[in-house]
């Protein structure tokens, strides 16, 4: 099932098909889904030549069992993480254009971040940060149950519309004011699918990429792809404003 409408409408439509019993509890699995987000960041700075700078991009979230993937269509890069039984997290970076991938060791530092918080990758927002927000409203039942969580300080405001049954962001906005300088970011869920075939096909495609253990990057300097990696950069450089300096708030204060 693929939906391309506003979330409230999506979930309303979804629930029509569910039984009344199911309305009380969500029967959709949070561990098998695909969610698309539109990310908008704006920067209203008096110092910028263009005083209202804004940027929009797309990000897809894929989950299948203990694997979660973040797909960045703009950069043809997908990052995925696999949660091991011992709770270690194994990162993998896929270069979709080249159909190549780099496998990293579980628990190691990748681009300045050692993966220890599964919730951060699974949900885009860590459980720890969610726990720091204040519940201001709650509506709906079953899969449609949503919570509005906020945090307001002198210079910034966070508002999260959260779908607890699906462990999914419906909308996230973050505004920061520094004098006349205002930075704003917004995440909006635009599509949600639980189509098992589609999800399986996505991960199957990744599994067919030519993979390289990151320990082997130095082994073969005749491999043009590995040499080219130098200029491909990391997702953080090519994606939305989410990972930009100010966007780190969503990741539980992590900085790199």
């Amino acid at each position: 099932m693929k939906l391309s409408l506003p979330l409230s409408f999506m979930l309303s439509s979804l629930l029509i098909t569910l039984s009344s019993a199911a309305e009380a509890q969500c029967e959709l699995s949070p561990s098998n889904l695909q969610a698309s987000y539109q990310l908008t960041s704006s920067d209203n700075s008096p110092n910028l030549s263009s005083k209202n700078s804004s940027h929009t991009s797309q990000l897809n979230l894929w989950r299948q069992g203990n694997t979660v993937a973040h797909q960045y269509p703009q950069t043809d890069i997908t990052e995925s993480w696999f949660l091991l039984n011992n709770k270690q997290i194994k990162p993998t970076r896929f270069f979709d254009h080249y159909q190549r991938g780099i496998e990293y060791q579980p628990g190691e530092v990748v681009h300045g971040k050692s993966e220890h918080d599964w919730s951060y990758r699974y949900q885009f927002i860590s459980d720890k940060l969610i726990s720091q927000l204040t519940l201001s409203a709650e509506t709906g039942k079953g899969c449609e149950r949503q919570q509005v969580l906020t945090q307001t300080s002198t210079n910034s405001k966070i508002e999260l519309v959260w779908l607890p049954e699906l462990q999914l962001i419906s909308r996230f906005s973050w505004t920061k004011n520094q004098g006349k300088h205002q930075t704003h970011e917004q995440w909006q869920l635009t599509e949600l699918s639980h189509d098992a075939n589609k999800i399986t096909a996505f991960f199957k495609q990744l599994n067919h990429y030519n993979m390289t253990d990151y320990a082997d990057i130095g082994d073969d300097h005749s491999d043009e792809f590995l040499t080219k990696m130098v200029t491909l950069g990391f997702v953080e450089h090519g994606a939305s404003g989410f990972y930009d300096t100010e966007g780190k708030a969503i990741s539980d204060g992590h900085s790199h």
Partner: protein, 527 residues
């Protein structure tokens, strides 16, 4: 005759030495510890044995262990023991015979491990990137393999009835170990999923498959030959032996699907079916439980990919043995054969540490190799076992500046008589160790896996290290030229030897001479 000559020469040398000492040199010179130690070293060399034939041969290969790595490792080893460091030796540096080895491949000035190990195992130089084939091969072209396969020392040892072993801290299908048993137009064909379609349809076999079917393949190539297969196989690389199916995952798996094979074959099961008296193990507990006196064959695959760096070994999911432990266990199994044995042990991750720009990991793995050699020396009789220790190539790894004696080898240069770091002409301090090229500086704190550097952007060039502790395990040295990873170097490496036939290790030699040293000692071809 040799003994008479040796004794006469020894007496003459002592007489001359004593006479010179008594008449010419002042006592403060002749009684100086440096002087007496050096004289003692000469006396030891005069006592060198002249036996040329060995029962056993063990060759250790430190992948990427160039001369600067040896120097820095021995200093680090000493400093970790509370000494200044420079005065010590790695275990094999006390061997009586040493040679310099030219490492180039037939088609490359700076070589790779596949071409260099082919030279050492088969007695001729070949191209970079190919295994167990001569220079007429075209890399990546399966159709050029047939007719260009060469025979290895391990194969000849098997045919002679010796026990054989291959041990590596890298994947057992990686270039260095693979050159002992495989023939491949490309070192990267570690399992069938790594091979192009035309290579598969052309009849070429992946490296893991060749290891498991080594016995049958060798018997097919030599009519009338009946061998019993490689007795000891230990290393990493389980992924190349298992099907791409999560149901085959081991308890040590770190991937959702551990195996890479796309032909649905479980080569670990096939190996166990072939060798019903053999033992397949995949973790420390299994390794510890091996009964070396009664086990005929062992296949130990201790990691999905490469085994951990020595400094990172505690982080293995199911636990894995050290290179010294594997060496000891291998010898204990192989020496059950009264005919003797041939064993190749590779420290595969010295190379990886350097590629990642981490001197710490490279040096600590080199020290672990030194410990493994020490274990081999302790478990064998020097009158019947030739032990060779060498590298396949070097790295662009330098020991620079004018640090004072005992200055931390992983630290910043502090000049003689000084306590603060010396600054370069840019006003910034600099480390003794550095790389000509590579990924460059990273400060990853207490990280013990060098490969974590690949998770960072290239950061070559000068950095301000004023407030950086460069002696931590997670420090990656500066590099001049930006590259995705640091590269091999083209200068000579060393070969160290003790035991029967070691006397022939001298001068500057081509890398292919290594095979001939092994062959000479074991008489592999003559018989």
């Amino acid at each position: 005759m040799n003994k008479t000559w040796k004794a006469s020469y020894g007496v003459l040398a002592l007489v001359i030495s004593s006479a010179l000492n008594a008449e010419v040199l002042p006592s403060y010179q002749t009684e100086n510890a440096w002087f007496t130690d050096a004289q003692s070293a000469i006396d030891t060399k005069l006592d060198t044995n002249n036996q040329f034939k060995a029962k056993n041969v063990i060759i250790f290969v430190g992948d990427g262990m160039g001369v600067s790595t040896l120097t820095a490792s021995r200093i680090l080893q000493g400093q970790m023991a509370g000494q200044p460091g420079e005065e010590g030796y790695l275990s094999f540096e006390t061997f009586p015979h040493t040679a310099l080895v030219k490492t180039y491949n037939v088609d490359a000035q700076t070589p790779d491990s596949a071409g260099t190990m082919t030279a050492m195992m088969s007695g001729l130089k070949s191209d970079a990137g190919v295994l167990g084939v001569d220079e007429d091969i075209v890399r990546g072209d399966c159709s050029t393999v047939t007719g260009n396969e060469v025979v290895t020392a391990l194969e000849l040892a098997e045919i002679k009835g010796l026990s054989t072993g291959v041990v590596s801290t890298a994947r057992i299908t990686h270039a260095t170990p693979a050159a002992t048993y495989a023939k491949s137009a490309d070192r990267n064909w570690e399992d069938i999923s790594d091979m192009p379609e035309d290579a598969v349809t052309g009849g070429c076999k992946d490296i893991a498959e060749q290891l498991v079917n080594f016995e049958a393949n060798l018997e097919a190539r030599f009519q009338g030959v009946d061998i019993d297969g490689i007795e000891v196989v230990m290393g990493g690389g389980r992924r190349h032996f298992l099907p791409k199916d999560a149901t085959f995952n081991s308890a040590d798996a770190v991937s959702e699907i551990e195996g890479d094979r796309t032909d649905s074959r479980d080569l670990t099961a096939e190996w166990q079916a072939k060798y019903s008296e053999g033992v397949y193990v995949m973790d420390q507990a299994g390794f510890d439980a091996i009964d070396t006196e009664n086990t005929k064959q062992v296949m130990g695959l201790f990691n999905e990919s490469h085994m951990q760096y020595e400094a990172d070994r505690d982080n293995d999911v199911a636990g894995e043995p050290s290179i010294a432990e594997m060496t000891g266990k291998a010898i204990d199994i192989l020496d059950n054969n009264d005919n003797g044995f041939f064993l190749m042990v590779e420290s595969g991750r010295i190379d990886h540490g350097h590629h990642a720009g981490s001197a710490y990991n490279a040096l600590t793995d080199a020290i672990a190799l030194s410990d493994a050699v020490k274990e081999a020396v302790a478990k064998t009789d020097p009158s019947e076992t030739l032990i060779l220790v060498t590298a396949d190539h070097g790295h662009v790894f330098t020991i620079a500046g004018y640090p004072k004696r005992g200055n931390p080898i992983l630290g910043k240069v502090v000049a003689i008589g000084e306590t603060e770091p010396t600054v370069a002409s840019d006003g910034l301090p600099y480390t003794t160790l550095g790389y000509t090229n590579g990924n460059g500086f990273h400060d990853l704190g207490d990280e013990t896996n060098a490969d974590a550097g690949y998770g960072e952007d290239v950061n070559a060039g000068r950095q301000d290290l004023t407030n950086v502790d460069t002696t931590t395990s997670g420090f990656h040295q500066e590099a001049l030229i930006p590259m995705s990873s640091e590269t091999h170097s083209g200068e000579d490496i060393t070969l160290h030897a003790q035991g029967p036939g070691a006397q022939l290790v001298q001068g500057v030699v081509e890398q292919s001479v290594v095979f001939h040293l092994i062959e000479q000692s074991l008489d592999l071809i003559q018989e």
